[in-house]
């Protein structure tokens, strides 16, 4: 284990952590807003997968990663309408709706994968390039970790601040939180609960689109059907363990990202422990985190409860 702590390797691990945290940050901040609006949306995994598929298709046909990102985000925003329709209009059980969307996304992906990808020459697609921030990337140690990343990573790291500001310092954020805590209060004032929840679901979904697209274009070099590998679920874990507070959620995400970075490097360095045990770490950590961090004081009161006037 000691060799993992040498200088260049440590830098590589921490830089890897930042890169791995990027898609999780996007999805988590989106899902946080959705859940603060009272919607227990567990379809993050499926939505990220959909984003990744769309990003792959568009990037390999047009060659532009930015066009691919745009398409992925739009597709995820569109697909969120299904979730909104089923949970807000039909008021079906939110858990079941999310489960159905996850199964649909993985089923459609498998069909698409078997039709268009498997057994064919993998198409060339351009991912996002590394962007070195002038001057800052030359700082020893911190420079290569924080300032030689993909452009989207810098946005992902600003996102928690933006979401915090939105939720706690703006009128609209207050309304979103109110929808999650006490929707009736908002309804009585003549403000629509449904529209706000619909927008919150859409925001969460399009952020998952960012997450899935980044995973495809900024992290992986080829598409596999289990590309997301439970990251969408880790996002949900991070929100619960972070007690629905933006910066604590970020903290949980960094734990998962660090463990995954260590797992990847352990494989490269060749530690004698089978690498499967490193790959398990984020999932074990999620159970430990949930058992240890049991405070649910900021859980929205009406989370998962469909709102109706009767």
């Amino acid at each position: 284990m000691l060799e993992l702590l040498q200088g260049p390797l440590l830098i590589s691990i921490l830089a890897g952590m930042v890169r791995i945290a990027t898609p999780l940050l996007f999805s988590a901040m989106g899902e946080l807003v959705t859940q603060r609006a009272g919607i227990w949306n567990i379809s993050v995994e499926g939505t990220m997968l959909l984003g990744a598929v769309v990003a792959y298709v568009v990037a390999s046909t047009t060659g532009s990663p930015w066009l691919a990102l745009l398409a992925a985000v739009l597709a995820c925003a569109l697909i969120s309408l299904i979730m909104s329709f089923v949970t807000i209009v039909l008021k079906a059980e939110q858990f079941v709706a999310g489960l159905a969307l996850n199964l649909l996304a993985s089923g459609l992906t498998l069909f698409w994968f078997q039709t268009y990808v498997i057994g064919r020459e993998p198409p060339k697609f351009a991912g996002f390039d590394q962007v070195d921030v002038p001057l800052l990337s030359d700082i020893p140690f911190l420079g290569p970790i924080l300032f030689s990343q993909r452009l989207l990573t810098y946005f992902a790291f600003l996102l928690p601040v933006a979401v915090w500001f939105f939720l706690y310092r703006t009128k609209y954020g207050l309304e979103i939180r109110c929808v999650g805590e006490n929707p009736k209060a908002l309804d009585v004032k003549g403000l629509s609960v449904g529209w706000r929840q619909c927008l919150a679901i859409m925001f969460g979904s399009l952020m998952s689109g960012f997450g899935g697209a980044f995973l495809m274009l900024g992290y992986s070099d080829r598409f596999v059907p289990d590309l997301i590998a439970g990251r969408g679920w880790l996002v949900v874990v991070a929100i619960i363990a972070g007690n629905w507070m933006p910066f604590r959620v970020v903290g949980a995400i960094f734990i998962f990202a660090l463990l995954e970075a260590v797992a990847i490097h352990a494989q490269v360095v060749g530690v004698s422990i089978p690498h499967h045990f490193f790959l398990i770490l984020p999932y074990v950590a999620s159970l430990v985190l949930l058992a240890g961090l049991r405070s649910r004081t900021h859980q929205p009161e009406a989370l998962g409860v469909p709102y109706s006037r009767e």
């Binding site: 567990i42 299904i82 089923v86 039909l90 008021k91 079906a92 858990f95 079941v96 709706a97 489960l99 159905a100 969307l101 199964l103 649909l104 996304a105 993985s106 089923g107 459609l108 498998l110 069909f111 698409w112 994968f113 078997q114 039709t115 268009y116 498997i118 590998a229 439970g230 679920w233 949900v236 874990v237 619960i240 089978p274 499967h276 045990f277 790959l279 398990i280 999932y283 074990v284 999620s286 159970l287 949930l290 058992a291 049991r294 649910r296």
Partner: protein, 360 residues
């Protein structure tokens, strides 16, 4: 003017209309999907039907594919009726198969019937313990079972990957890992009841039918079944009645996991005869769909398991005959579930003609 109102009772005719409409929508969407991807829906679906029901052997093949789905579906029903959202069927199927495989390494010297029994029990215990673990996390730490069961899925799948890839269960005599175990001892294979070649139906089908009867009696005729249903509809009332909620939760998770575990053991010893992740993957999630589409009732689950078993079985023939990938069936599962979810809401509504009042 026509308005939508809540229906007071339920009407069988309207229910059938809603669910048939959902099924038609799911098939039409799948057909659109096929056309869009350059396939021929008529050719593909007729091949699917032939592969599922075209011959006696095809029929046995469908029943064989329905067997694990029925078991997992029943386990899901027990949990979901209590609104305990166990979605760790995938891992529980794996754990059952792994426990049964482990047991099979020891029991060969025993009399056949005893070895067979011990293997089946190991399957039940393997899946049950994994379910129980999620139940314990919920009871002790308040961890949402939705999350813990999913996380346990990944953990178990990675453990199996380790065992078969460089671990102790790697196929012996090989230097390259094929991600599978050596074949199980042929003496321990579960007996084939009917069929031959690709359509072999093993004794697990009888076990699954027995499990369906067990679940129907459990849910409708026992006090545990009453508590399960009551916990799903009104947990507060149950708490006031003095029911031990923690015990109930643990028992439900144990039973739910055990049935999924038995499905895993049956797949290993009745069908694939080798421990291999690909042969088990997807049984868990299909079982959840079967439970939901079956209306969370054992009788409905039997029908749904036959339907999806037939789809899975027919898909193999469909791929050979029309080149349509078998993944279509996975997509259809998602579509059917989504449309059924909408139909379930629609069954509670009715359209009423309302006379508009003319204000003088």
């Amino acid at each position: 003017m026509i308005s939508v109102q809540r229906r007071s009772g339920s009407s069988l005719g309207w229910n059938i209309t809603c669910y048939s409409a959902a099924m038609i929508c799911a098939f039409l969407t799948s057909a659109a999907l096929l056309t869009f991807s350059g396939g021929d829906p008529v050719k593909a679906f007729s091949a699917l039907l032939t592969g599922a029901f075209g011959s006696q052997n095809a029929l046995y093949g469908s029943l064989a594919k329905a067997t694990p789905l029925l078991l997992v579906g029943l386990g899901t029903v027990i949990a979901f009726r209590a609104k305990i959202w166990n979605i760790g069927q995938e891992g529980q199927v794996f754990a059952g198969a792994m426990a049964a495989y482990w047991m099979s390494l020891w029991v060969a010297p025993l009399p056949y019937w005893l070895a067979w029994l011990l293997i089946a029990i190991a399957g039940l215990v393997g899946g049950g313990v994994l379910g129980l673990l999620a139940g314990y996390l919920k009871v002790r730490f308040g961890t949402s079972e939705v999350i813990s069961t999913v996380m346990l899925n990944y953990i178990v799948i990675y453990i199996l990957a380790y065992l078969l890839d460089g671990g102790p269960w790697m196929e012996s005599g090989l230097t390259v890992a094929y991600h599978q175990s050596s074949p199980v001892n042929p003496l321990l294979e579960w007996p084939i009841l009917l069929g031959q070649g690709s359509g072999k139906m093993h004794i697990g089908f009888i076990l699954a039918l027995a499990a369906a009867a067990f679940c129907a009696v459990l849910l409708e005729r026992t006090s545990l079944g009453y508590e399960i249903r009551a916990f799903g509809s009104n947990p507060t009332a149950l708490r006031f009645r003095g029911t031990n909620i923690r015990r109930l939760l643990l028992v439900v998770m144990l039973l739910s996991g055990a049935l999924a575990g038995l499905a895993g053991a049956g797949e290993l010893f009745g069908t694939s005869h080798r421990l291999r992740a690909e042969t088990l993957l997807g049984i868990g999630s299909s079982g959840i769909v079967v439970a939901m589409v079956g209306g969370l009732r054992p009788s409905g689950v039997m029908l749904a398991a036959l339907f999806f078993g037939a789809l899975k079985s027919g898909a193999i023939y469909m791929r050979l005959k029309s080149g349509t990938p078998a993944g279509l069936v996975s997509a259809m599962e998602g579509l059917v579930l989504l449309f059924f979810l909408c139909a379930a809401v629609a069954t509670k509504l009715q359209l009423v003609r309302v006379e508009e009042k003319v204000h003088a």
